[in-house]
């Protein structure tokens, strides 16, 4: 996938003598030692990562971990002390003041803030057109664009309201719309939903995901909430003391925490929400094909000692499930005929789930299911693997370590 933003050895020191702080850090001193000995704050230290085009990349960490600082380095609201920020191939740390301003206008959908940061003296419409107004877009054109995105975020009818008349959720929609009105690729969201109450928050998260499906922005989302990070993030970077400890998908982080800090962090996480069919499935032992006779199938079953077998066609598309007990019964009843044909009546509908289905939903399917394994398929109904009961239970226990999924 195309890399949109690449950070290389990015460091930000707040203080009078950054070089001294970096030297101390290189010698292995901690952030706290630098603070107490030199009175300099290490915002971000030696961060390298890349953000892919059209993904939601979450920066996750506790307060003081440097996640907001890192985000502000990306659009240079904070000047980096060391390192490179490459966006679409351009190292923006080298841009002059004027070029930087132009770059921000073209490439960033502004920023969305925890406390909304909408302008109190402007109506919703005027707030939303703010970014375009700064770019010098003509009034009629920017009004039209503003109305369009206002409708997109579900604020239609509130165009002429003032911020003081709106609820938190609506204010954040204004913040979001203001960003979207500017036709740029990168959206920075700083704890955007943290000030909202839980119900509104969940709703906004869902709407963001829905919008993202359509708009395909590259979103850098800062949060301290693990559930939020795992829900929104295509990939997540976990930060502590100004450094990125681990980067990966939710499943990678939960199944293979890089160190004890991350492990402790994800411990409280509801694993059944994060883990998907893909990460707990096992390879299929053997399969039956439509051309196979009953005896061939039975041989395959016996060889592996299975209670049943899945049938797929040559394109690996799932056809159904055959129970061993029924197959044996059938063969017994038709002993005399040499050239036995497979009876279609033996083929049951196989229970299958999408490879991205969360574990919690798989459990629900299991509860009403009597026989056999659950087949895992991709969007084209092609067989990817199977889930057996034992794996589900194992995945829910915390000590469980995964083999590499997929």
């Amino acid at each position: 996938m195309e890399e949109k933003i690449v950070l290389r050895n990015l460091t930000k020191i707040f203080g009078k003598n950054p070089a001294k702080a970096i030297k101390a850090l290189k010698e292995g001193k901690s952030k706290n030692e630098v603070l107490s000995e030199q009175n300099q704050i290490v915002g971000v230290y030696n961060v390298s990562l890349s953000v892919r085009k059209s993904e939601i990349f979450v920066l996750m960490g506790l307060s003081g971990s440097g996640k907001s600082t890192l985000q502000r380095l990306i659009n240079r609201l904070h000047e980096p002390t060391r390192g490179e920020i490459i966006i679409d191939g351009v190292d923006i740390t080298k841009l002059g003041k004027k070029d930087l301003r132009e770059f921000r206008r073209k490439n960033f959908c502004g920023m969305v803030f925890q406390n909304f940061a909408v302008l109190p003296h402007r109506t919703v419409l005027e707030n939303v057109e703010f970014g375009l107004e700064l770019q010098g877009v003509e009034k009629i054109a920017r009004r039209e664009k503003a109305r369009e995105v206002i409708e997109l975020v579900g604020l239609k009818g509130n165009e002429n309201s003032y911020p003081s008349q709106l609820s938190g959720g609506m204010l954040q929609r204004v913040g979001l719309a203001r960003g979207l009105a500017v036709d740029a690729d990168i959206m920075l969201m700083d704890e955007a939903f943290s000030a909202l109450d839980p119900l509104i928050r969940r709703q906004m998260q869902d709407e963001l995901l829905e919008l993202q499906e359509r708009l395909q922005k590259t979103i850098i989302f800062v949060t301290h909430d693990l559930d939020e990070a795992f829900k929104l993030g295509n990939r997540i970077a976990i930060m502590n003391d100004g450094e990125v400890i681990q980067t990966g998908t939710a499943e990678e982080i939960i199944s293979k925490p890089a160190n004890d800090y991350v492990k402790a962090f994800v411990e409280d996480m509801n694993r059944s929400v994060v883990l998907t069919a893909q990460s707990i499935m096992q390879p299929v032992e053997d399969t039956a094909f439509p051309g196979d006779g009953p005896r061939t199938i039975l041989r395959k079953i016996r060889k592996k000692g299975l209670t049943g077998i899945l049938m797929i066609d040559t394109r690996r598309e799932l056809k159904g499930y055959i129970r061993t007990s029924e197959l044996v019964e059938y063969i017994k009843n038709h002993k005399e005929k040499e050239d036995l044909q497979f009876d279609k009546a033996l083929l049951h509908n196989a229970l299958s789930v999408d490879e991205n289905m969360p574990l919690i939903d798989i459990i629900n399917i299991y509860s009403g299911h009597q026989y056999g394994p659950v087949a895992v398929t991709d969007e084209n109904n092609r067989l990817k693997g199977v889930i057996v009961k034992g794996a589900v239970i194992a995945a829910l226990s915390e000590s469980f370590e995964f083999d590499s999924p997929g």
Binding site: R72, N75, L77, R101, E102, F103, R104, R105, F108, G110, M111, F113, N115, A117, L119, P120, H121, R122, F130, G131, E133, L134, Q135, Y162, S164, R178, V182, L188
Partner: protein
Amino acid sequence: MFEYRIPLRDWITSAVNYLEVKFGGFFDGFSAFIYFLVDNFREGMLFLHPLVFMLLIVAIMWYMAGWKNGLIAFAGLLLTENIGLWEAFIETLALVLTAEIIVIIVGMPLGIWAARSDRFNSVIRPVLDFMQTMPAFVYLIPAVMFFGLGLVPGVVATFVFALPPLIRLTNLGIRQVPKELIEAADAFGATAMQKLLKVQIPVAKSTIMAGVNQSIMLGLSMVVIAAMIGAGGLGEDVLRGIQRLQVGQGFEAGLIVVILAIILDRITSGFGMKKSTIN
């Protein structure tokens, strides 16, 4: 106690003398400009029939501060006309407005500068402290030295006295604009000027208006004192009342000053309020 007396008064006198000699032309020109402003204000307002002007003020009051305040203003203005202080009233108003216009022209940029530069702020703060703690009468002396007696030194002394609160409150208002609003503007690629005009000043508006209000009130108090150097207006009537021990006359003029103060206060604070109800 000391044999030697530091010749502070000589230094100041010679400094003022030096400036007067060196920049006499500048002071004359400046003086003419101020006089032109005040005089036109006064003549313009006196040109209108008192009743027309009264209704104009009442209408502004009504709009800015409600009909009750409008009625109070109307009663006060009728009283002014009735006791024969209309011209003095207008003269004082012209003086205050002229001084306030200069205060805004000078004070707002200085306040904005102070908000943007910590260094300038640390330079100007003691100067403002000095200006505010200095007894008001003291300003009359250099004003008279440079501009003689009359309206102009009155305006200048009023200007100096009324300047600090506007600088302070403009500075404060802009510094109090939430950090995120500035960051938001920056993130969208705003220029410094766009940030100032579209974010900082509008958001700080009610604080800045409080500064305007404060400086008008201070200016009004100075205008009465400025009568001592012949600035004229209502202060002159108050002063005459004191000098001749005519309690009634002095009190009358004082009352009209209060009425003017109420009108100016309600209008300017109404302006700040009106915007902030939206916020």
